[in-house]
C-alpha cells in the first residue's frame, strides 16, 4: 500500500516551499504545485472509484478551514478523523506548512491560504475527472457523489439546487445520495431523483413502510460486477424539519443494509460499495457489524483523510467537503474479493489545476441570474472568519452578534452546521459569503423566552447528539453555537450531565433554572417559525459595522476529552 506515500508525495515535493519562514509568493507555489503532480497515480487493478461528498453548492474555489477541535468519544477517541492540528500531521506523516498541512488542518490557516490559494471548484474537479477517465478508460471508472451537493449557497437555495444539478450532470455521476437535498421538499427530491440516479435504501414511506427510492444499482466496470448501495442521512427528519418530508421515514436501518448487501451478492455483485451519508463514526460501527461491504464512501461529517481506514476487510474513504478534494480508489477485484487497492485523496488546488472550459461556462451560466447580487460587497473582515469545529467558529460568533442585536435578545442559539466557507483577514464580505454560511430553506430568525432549565435541556440534547459514546445515537452536526452564554462541558459524562456553569454573559451571573431569558435563534425545525431571514440580519449587521473584528471566543470550557 502506498496510500500515505502517495499523498505525502505531494507534500514532500513542495515541502521546501515552507522552509525559510513562509516568505513565498503565490507564483512560486503555482509553479511547484503542478497538475501532473497532483493527479499522479500509479494505476492498479480493474476498477477505479472516484468520490466527492458534501460539496454544499460550492461551484467555485473556496477557502475552507478544517477544525481545530474535533473530539472523538468512546471507541472513536484519539482515532482518525478525530485528530486535529499537529496530531493530525504526525499521524499521517505530513510536514508542517506543506500543501497537505494547509489542505487538511487549521494550522496557520490564514498565512498558508495566502501561499497556496483557494481549493476546489467544479471546473477543476471536471479536469481531474476527465484526466482519470482518460487514463483508466471510462469502462473502469465509477464516479459517485455522497450527497449534500445541492445546498449551501444563494443560487442553490433560490433554484432548489438546480444550479448545481445542471453543472453536476455534466460530470455524469453514476449515483448520488442525499441529506440537505430533502430540505427542498419531497416533490423536489423526487424531481432530482429523475435527473440523476438517486440511491437511498434507508428511506421508507410512513404509511406502508415501503422503500421510496432505488436502494442500489449494479454496474459492470473493468469486467467486475459492482453494486452501489445508497444510504441517505439517517436523521434527516430529526436534524432538519420533519414537516418538509412528512411522508418519509429514515434511520440507519442496519438490517436493510444487510439485506441489500446479501441481495447484491445473490445477484452476482463481486464488489459492494456503500455510498453513505451516515457520518464517519456511524460507518465505522456499521462496517464492524454488517459483513460483506468492501468499500464505504463516507460523508456528512466532512472529514478529509489522506488514507483509507480499514475496519476488518472494509475500506472507509473520507473525501472532505466543499469540493476541496477528489478521492481516487483503485481496486484489484478478483473472484469477488478485493485483492489489492491504492488510494489518493487528490487535493484540488485551484491555482495549480487548469479549469475545464465547458464547466467554467456552465458555472457562469448557473451563477448568471444572481451574479450581481453575489458580488455585492457588504463590508470587510479584519480577522479570519470560519465555522467548522465542535464548539464555535468566528463566523458563528458574528451571526450570534448580528441576531442578538437585531432581535434585541440576551442569548443567541445558532446551529452547529459543518458547512460554510472561510474568509481571510482583509477580505471583503460579499452577499455570497453571507449566504455561504446561512443559505437554508427554513431561515427564519425567531425570538422567544426560555427558562434557564429549558436552555440547559437544549444544550444537553445537542451535546448528546455529538458526544454519545455510541455513534448510532449521534447526528453528526457540531455543538449549537451560543451568543451571550458561557458554559462548561464535560464530554465524557453521560447524557444530561455534561453541561454546567452556565453563565449569562451580560450580567456575569449564573443562569437560573426558573428564570426567563430572551432568546433568539435560527434554523428551527418547528413548523410555522416566524421572523426575518437570517441572511438579511447578518447583512444588516455587517453593513453597519463596515469592518468586522471577531475576538477569540472563550465562552465554552471543555473537559473530559
Amino acid at each position: 500500500m502506498i496510500t500515505r506515500r502517495e499523498f505525502v508525495g505531494v507534500a514532500a515535493a513542495t515541502a521546501t516551499l515552507a522552509v525559510g519562514g513562509g516568505s513565498l509568493t503565490r507564483a512560486l507555489t503555482k509553479q511547484r504545485l503542478t497538475e501532473a503532480e497532483l493527479f499522479k497515480f500509479d494505476p492498479l487493478g480493474n476498477v477505479t472509484i472516484l468520490h466527492v461528498a458534501d460539496l454544499h453548492a460550492q461551484l467555485q474555489p473556496v477557502y475552507f478551514r478544517e477544525p481545530s477541535i474535533n473530539l472523538g468519544i468512546g471507541s472513536s477517541k484519539g482515532l482518525a478523523p478525530h485528530l486535529t492540528g499537529r496530531a493530525f500531521l504526525k499521524h499521517f506523516g505530513i510536514k508542517e506548512r506543506s500543501p497537505a498541512a494547509y489542505a487538511l488542518t487549521s494550522l496557520e490557516f490564514a498565512a498558508l491560504a495566502r501561499e497556496y490559494g483557494r481549493m476546489g471548484g467544479l471546473d477543476r474537479l471536471a479536469t481531474a475527472l476527465k484526466h482519470v477517465r482518460a487514463e483508466r478508460g471510462e469502462d473502469k471508472v465509477l464516479f459517485l457523489d455522497g450527497g449534500d451537493s445541492l445546498q449551501g449557497s444563494l443560487g442553490a437555495n433560490q433554484s432548489k439546487g438546480q444550479d448545481v444539478l445542471d453543472c453536476m450532470r455534466l460530470l455524469k455521476p453514476d449515483a448520488m445520495t442525499g441529506h440537505w437535498e430533502f430540505t427542498y421538499g419531497e416533490t423536489r427530491v423526487k424531481e432530482i431523483a429523475k435527473s440523476v440516479p438517486f440511491l437511498a435504501l434507508n428511506v421508507r414511506d410512513t404509511e406502508w413502510n415501503e422503500p421510496v427510492f432505488e436502494p442500489m444499482r449494479l454496474f459492470e466496470k473493468g469486467g467486475v460486477k459492482v453494486a452501489v448501495l445508497g444510504q441517505a442521512f439517517p436523521y434527516t427528519p430529526i436534524a432538519n424539519p420533519a414537516w418538509m418530508m412528512p411522508n418519509w421515514s429514515f434511520g440507519i436501518r442496519e438490517d436493510d443494509v444487510r439485506a441489500n448487501v446479501e441481495k447484491a451478492r445473490k445477484n452476482g455483485a463481486q464488489l459492494i460499495v456503500l455510498l453513505s451519508h451516515n457520518g464517519f463514526d456511524v460507518d465505522r460501527k456499521l462496517a464492524s457489524r454488517v459483513a460483506g461491504i468492501d468499500v464505504i464512501l463516507t460523508g456528512h461529517t466532512h472529514d478529509a483523510l489522506p488514507e483509507v481506514v480499514k475496519v476488518g476487510t472494509t475500506l472507509l474513504v473520507a473525501s472532505g467537503c466543499d469540493g476541496k478534494f477528489l478521492s481516487r480508489l483503485d481496486l484489484d477485484v478478483q473472484g469477488g474479493q478485493v485483492k489489492d487497492f491504492r488510494y489518493k485523496l487528490i487535493p484540488l488546488f485551484a491555482d495549480a489545476i487548469t479549469p475545464d472550459k465547458e464547466m467554467t461556462l456552465a458555472i457562469e451560466k448557473a451563477r448568471a441570474p444572481y451574479a450581481k447580487e453575489l458580488r455585492r460587497i457588504v463590508g470587510h473582515t479584519e480577522t479570519l472568519l470560519y465555522r467548522r469545529g465542535n464548539f464555535n467558529g468566528t463566523f458563528d460568533d458574528l451571526i450570534c452578534a448580528a441576531i442578538m442585536q437585531a432581535r434585541d435578545a440576551e442569548i443567541a442559539l445558532s446551529p452547529g452546521f459543518r458547512w460554510g466557507t472561510s474568509l481571510l483577514p482583509g477580505q471583503t464580505i460579499t452577499v455570497e459569503d453571507i449566504h455561504n454560511v446561512t443559505a437554508i430553506s427554513y431561515p427564519q430568525v425567531y425570538r422567544t423566552t426560555m427558562t434557564g432549565e429549558r436552555l440547559k435541556e437544549i444544550l444537553e440534547d445537542v451535546a448528546d447528539n455529538l458526544f454519545n459514546p455510541d455513534p448510532y445515537y449521534q447526528q453528526g452536526g457540531d455543538m449549537v453555537r451560543c451568543g451571550g452564554l458561557g458554559y462548561a462541558i464535560d464530554v465524557g459524562k453521560p447524557a444530561g450531565q455534561r453541561i454546567s456553569a452556565m453563565t449569562h454573559r451580560k450580567s456575569g451571573k449564573p443562569i437560573e433554572a426558573g428564570k426567563n431569558y430572551v432568546i433568539t435563534g435560527w434554523a428551527s425545525v418547528n413548523h410555522g417559525t416566524e421572523g426575518p431571514q437570517i441572511w438579511e440580519l447578518v447583512e444588516r449587521y455587517v453593513a453597519a459595522e463596515k469592518t468586522v473584528r471577531m475576538k477569540p471566543n472563550r465562552l465554552v470550557t471543555i473537559s473530559g476529552a
Binding site: W180, T206, G251, I252, G416, I458, N465, V480
Partner: protein, 151 residues
C-alpha cells in the same frame, strides 16, 4: 406532524398476533422497579436468556408519539415448541407495560409490529415466553430528542 392515534396504531398491528395495548394515564415516569416488577409478573420470576428474540426500533425516534416497533422470535412454531407471548416494556413510560402479543402454533411466525408512544429517551425491553417455559429477552435504547442543529 405525523400523529397517529392509538386506534390507528392498533390497526397497523401486523400478523396474527392479538395485541393487548395498555392505556395512557397521567401518571409520571415509571421507575426501573416498576419495569422489573412487570417483567417478573410476566416471567413468574424465571431468569430470562439473551438471544432468539430481536427488536427492530430506530436508534433515535423521528417522532416520540409514534415509534415503529417490530419484535420477532426465532422459533419453530409447531405444537411442541412455539412462542406463546411477547411482552414489550418501555421503562420510562408512565405505564411501562406497552403491549403483550399472544401467539399459537397457528400463527406460523412469532412476529408482530406496531407503533408505540415513548415519553422520553428510554429502554424498550421485549420478553418472550415459549410453550416449553423458556424466557428470552432483548432490549434497545431509543432516544427521543428535541431535534435540530444537525448537519
Amino acid at each position: 406532524m405525523r400523529l397517529i392515534s392509538r386506534r390507528r396504531a392498533l390497526v397497523l398491528t401486523a400478523g396474527s398476533a392479538a395485541a393487548a395495548a395498555l392505556g395512557w394515564s397521567g401518571k409520571s415516569r415509571a421507575t426501573p422497579k416498576d419495569a422489573a416488577e412487570a417483567i417478573a409478573k410476566f416471567t413468574g420470576g424465571k431468569t430470562a436468556e439473551n438471544g432468539k428474540i430481536s427488536i427492530e426500533l430506530p436508534e433515535i425516534a423521528e417522532n416520540g408519539n409514534t415509534v415503529p416497533l417490530k419484535v420477532s422470535v426465532d422459533a419453530p412454531m409447531n405444537a411442541d415448541d412455539y412462542v406463546s407471548d411477547i411482552l414489550v416494556i418501555a421503562d420510562g413510560n408512565p405505564l411501562p407495560r406497552v403491549v403483550t402479543f399472544r401467539f399459537t402454533p397457528m400463527s406460523g411466525k412469532a412476529v408482530a409490529s406496531t407503533r408505540i408512544r415513548l415519553a422520553t429517551t428510554e429502554n424498550i425491553i421485549a420478553v418472550a415466553k415459549t410453550s416449553g417455559g423458556q424466557i428470552f429477552t432483548a432490549q434497545k435504547l431509543v432516544k427521543v430528542t428535541i431535534g435540530g442543529c444537525g448537519g
